[in-house]
Structures are given as structure tokens and as C-alpha cells.
Amino acid sequence: MIRKSSLLVAGLTFLLSGTAFARATLPPLTAEQADKGEALYGAACAICHGTAMRGNFQTPPLRGTFVARWANVPVSELSDYIQRAMPLMAPGTLSREDTIAITAWLLKANGVPVGKTPLPSDDKLLHSFKFPAIPAGSYKAVIPD
């Protein structure tokens, strides 16, 4: 049931927001989750990936090419990666809840709209959502300059 409602909300969010992602099955997330993730990002991730998430010469960005690397991959794989590998100087120290919040922030920062349904913590549910690509034609709609 949870999954169905998530999909429904995601689909509605897609339609209402007018963004034109290729799939209607965008991962759901709430503003609260994303805000929490943003704060966690500032504390645990920004030191390497930068406050603007653009990375630097050594550290990969978490926007732009990041989308190309994770597009169409189940979101659970991203959150699993974050949990076991990040932050690089202290991997495995993020709680599950914090990891999900950071994942939500990464999705929001890359154009996924917020809604009423939270990004699920359950791995199987999370696996059902793919990290969205941004079709060339809708770049501007998804990520304003």
C-alpha cells in the first residue's frame, strides 16, 4: 500500500510540477527530509564536495556528471553506497535515517520535486525508484540556471 501511494504521489508531483523527467515514477521525498539532508550535507559532505556540490579537481561533483553516473540506477544503490563508503574519512558512520535524508537532498538538488510522501527507508521500496535522468529537452525546466 505504501508503495502504491508513493508512486501515486510521485506521479502527481510530476504532473503538477510540470517538469518533464522521462519517467513519472520519480522517487518521492519531503521538504523536511531534504532540509535535514542539506544540513547533514553541510556538516559531513561539503568539506570535500563543496557547498555548491560541484566538487573540485579531486572530488566528484554531486550535480551534473553525478546525474549521468547514477541515472536509472535504483536509489537504494545510491543510499547503500553513501552508507558504506561516505564520508570518505569516516565511512559507515551515518545512520540509516541520516543516509536517507542525504539521499533525499541529493535528489532534490538534482531537480526532483518535493512532495508529501517521504523517501522510504525500506531498502526494497527504495529499490523500486530509479535515480532520474534529465532529458535534454527538459534540462531548463528541471534545473534552472
Binding site: 563543496g50 555548491a52 560541484r54 573540485n56 579537481f57 561533483p61 550535480r63 551534473g64 556528471t65 546525474v67 549521468a68 541515472a71 538534482n110 535522468a133 534529465i134 532529458p135 535534454a136 529537452g137 534540462y139 531548463k140 534545473i143 540556471d145
Partner: protein, 421 residues
């Protein structure tokens, strides 16, 4: 009065002028109060004897004129939809195109990557087009460059070719604080990328000792008096054109942690018998070797170049690629009808190469830099500062300007020879 020191430095550094000398001068400490306070070269560093070059207009091998593509708000990096094409703009880098090229390409190709499109068209083959194309290839794209001219003929190679990342890059107010952050990202990324090209055959990227010489103590007040750099009433907001050097943005202070700074030369050891001097190690680009290297890299990675001139955005419809990276430089004014581009004329004069000379200098309104393809001479306008060349799209050589710039060094060398007897 609280802002006085800042204004003083700001006005002082407008003493530089053409093609990016400005930022270099500032970094060389000509106007930095911090540098004036200390940073003298330590005793274990000896200033080498510098050989003069033949400073005579009859040695001129070339005069090159370029038009810097200046935009008040900084380079255009937004995304536009034209028919079924998505156009990612990358142009309008003023006098900082070479310096910021890799960082700017990194930002733009990052956006391109989100589309997952592997076939990418790049418009233009200047330094911005080439670095965009190479960055796209490194991101796994199959790239075709569509261009009217290739590197030896593009405006890019009529530049000065040294690290000047905030030379006429934007006006402070129209660009706003967000651009300063973006600039820093681009500058740091570019600097790191360029460092990766050091030490290669032909020295495509190199470092050189750069001397700032002055007959008077390098206090900011002297320069301030000479360099109001204000040509009209109002400012960019009220007239649509910059009216004063003080409107131009300066961001170099943000990256002093990675850029070697200028140091004061001990009295009596300043080259050519000049009273006061500073020295800085400066990065430069040797166009021949570097251009050849970039083109070779592009072709080796399977890139294609199609010789083609576009006349209006509608022309893009005929391209097979859905994603287009637009890097036309100043040509955006004609082909994209972008009137936000303001031409800023600059001229360099080239004497025969002197590979044995490994220095550059700035003295009395003229600068020189010994590069692999010649000794580059550049005059700058002590009165106009950053405003020199603004609004001027006259892309033809002015030989008298070259002769005046060379004459500064003729006088310097002659005076020193007489002094030494």
C-alpha cells in the same frame, strides 16, 4: 573612509590594461598593501642577471589584435531550447577565457552530462570550444566541433596567453556575489588542470619569472593619482556600458592560497638598474605547442571537426546532435545576436623568439613576456586602465601603439647601458 584602502588598491591596479595584464599586475603586488608590508625575497634567492632583447620596431614580426568577448554579468552559461536542440552556452569570458577555460567547460559539460546524450555538437574551436570538446570527450561523449575557423585562426590565439583569470571577466554589481563563487570554482579547477599540462615537450604550459619594475616606490597613491580610469558619467546600470575601471570585478584575492604571490626585490638588485621591483612566478600558455596538443588530443579521442559557419540559431536544426555546446566567443554577437557582448580591443606585438630569455616584465605602461613563439610586447593605458579598449571592435593593428610599447623598453635598456658605462 573605511573603504578607502580598498578603493586605493582598486584604482591602482587599473594601471594595467590590455589582455589580462591587469590581474597579473595586481597579483604581482603592485597594488597589494599586504605585499608592500612584507614578502621580501629571502637572502638565499639571488636575482639573476637579465639579458635585454633588441627593442626596436624594425624587429616586429607580427601585430595581433583581438576582441575580448566581455559581458557585464560574466560569461553566459545558461541553457536554451531551440527547436529540438538543447543549447548549453559557454561564451563571454572577457580577458579570462584561456585562464578559466577548463573550469568553465567543467561547469557546462556537467550540465550536458545530465542529459545522458552521447552525441554532442560544439560550436566554435577557440580555447573555450576546444576545452569544452575535450571535457565532453572525457565525460564519454562523441564530439563534433562545428566551426568557421580552427585554432591558428581563431581570436583566442590573438590573446596574451598568461594566467589572468579575472581580467575583464565581469562587472562587480551586474555579476553579483553568486558569480564570485562560480568564478572561484572555475579558477581553481582550471589552475589544477593547467598544472597537469606542465613539463611536457614544447612547454605548452610553462612558468616564467615576471618582474614589475618602477622608478618610484610602489605605493598605491602614486598610481591612484594617475589612474582614475573614469571616462563618463554614471555607470553600467544607467548607461548600458561600463564608465569606470572601478566597476570591473576583481576576484583574485579568493585564490591566493594556490597562486604564487609577488615578492619585493631587495634594493640595488632590481633588474636593468631600476629603483624598485617585485617578482612573481607566473603561469603562461605557449599557443603553438598547447594548441597543437589540444587538437591532437581531440582527434586521438575520435573527435571530428566540420568546417561550417552558422548564421542564425535556426541553422542548428540541420545538426544531427540534440545537444549543442555554444562556444563562439565574440562571434555570438553576430550569430546569436547577443548584444550583451561588449567588445574590448587588445593588441599584442611580437618580436622574434628568444628561448634563452625566461622572463617577463612590466614597466612604465608596457609589458613583455618571452614565450616560445616570440617576445610578446603589450602596451597599456595608464589613464584608462580597465576601460582601455572597451566598446572598441576595431580589429586591425595600430603600429604606433606597438612602437610606443617597444619604445618603453628601448629607453630602459639604453638608460641602463649608459649607467653601466
Amino acid at each position: 573612509m573605511g573603504s578607502k584602502p580598498f578603493l586605493t588598491r582598486r584604482k591602482a591596479f587599473i594601471a594595467a590594461g590590455a589582455l589580462g595584464t591587469t590581474a597579473a599586475l595586481r597579483r604581482q603586488g603592485l597594488i597589494s598593501s599586504a605585499a608592500a608590508a612584507g614578502s621580501e625575497l629571502p637572502p638565499y634567492i639571488e636575482i639573476p642577471h637579465l639579458q635585454p632583447f633588441l627593442a626596436d620596431p624594425n624587429q616586429i614580426a607580427d601585430i595581433k589584435v583581438c576582441i575580448r568577448p566581455f559581458r557585464a554579468a560574466g560569461p553566459r552559461l545558461d541553457v536554451e531550447r531551440i527547436g529540438d536542440k538543447t543549447v548549453f552556452h559557454n561564451y563571454g569570458h572577457g580577458g579570462s577565457g584561456w585562464s578559466l577555460s577548463w573550469g568553465s567547460a567543467n561547469i557546462v559539460i556537467g550540465k550536458v552530462a545530465t542529459t545522458l546524450e552521447k552525441k554532442v555538437a560544439v560550436i566554435g574551436c577557440g580555447i573555450i570550444g576546444l576545452t569544452s570538446a575535450l571535457t565532453a570527450q572525457r565525460a564519454g561523449c562523441d564530439v563534433t566541433i562545428y566551426t568557421r575557423d580552427t585554432l591558428p585562426h581563431t581570436r583566442s590565439v590573438r590573446a596574451n596567453g598568461s594566467w589572468t583569470p579575472d581580467s575583464r571577466i565581469a562587472l562587480t554589481k551586474p555579476a553579483g556575489p553568486a558569480f564570485a563563487d562560480l568564478w572561484e570554482q572555475m579558477a581553481r579547477f582550471s589552475w589544477a588542470t593547467y598544472r597537469g599540462y606542465l613539463g611536457l615537450p614544447g612547454a605548452p604550459i610553462d612558468f616564467s619569472d615576471h618582474y614589475v619594475l618602477s622608478d618610484k616606490p610602489m605605493t598605491t597613491e602614486d598610481i591612484e593619482k594617475k589612474n582614475a580610469g573614469k571616462i563618463g558619467k554614471g555607470d553600467y546600470a544607467s548607461t548600458g556600458m561600463p564608465q569606470s575601471s572601478s566597476e570591473f570585478a576583481e576576484y583574485s584575492d579568493r585564490i591566493t592560497d594556490i597562486i604564487p604571490q609577488a615578492e619585493t626585490i631587495r634594493s640595488g638588485e632590481v633588474p636593468f638598474g631600476v629603483a624598485y621591483g617585485k617578482r612573481q612566478q607566473m603561469m603562461m600558455y605557449n599557443f603553438g605547442a598547447y594548441g597543437h596538443l589540444l587538437l591532437s588530443e581531440f582527434f586521438q579521442a575520435g573527435g571530428k571537426i566540420v568546417n561550417r559557419e552558422f548564421h542564425s540559431p535556426e541553422d542548428l536544426k540541420s545538426l544531427p546532435e540534440k545537444v549543442v555546446v555554444n562556444c563562439p566567443g565574440y562571434a555570438a554577437r553576430e550569430w546569436w545576436n547577443d548584444k550583451s557582448l561588449i567588445p574590448v580591443r587588445g593588441q599584442t606585438t611580437w618580436l622574434p623568439p628568444r628561448p634563452d630569455l625566461r622572463y617577463g616584465m612590466v614597466y612604465n605602461g608596457s609589458s613583455m613576456l618571452s614565450k616560445s613563439d616570440g617576445i610578446m610586447i603589450q602596451g597599456f593605458d595608464l589613464e584608462l586602465g580597465e576601460m582601455a579598449g572597451v566598446g572598441n571592435s576595431f580589429e586591425h593593428p595600430d603600429r604606433s601603439e606597438s612602437e610606443r610599447a617597444i619604445g618603453v623598453f628601448t629607453e630602459l635598456f639604453n638608460r641602463n647601458a649608459v649607467k653601466k658605462g
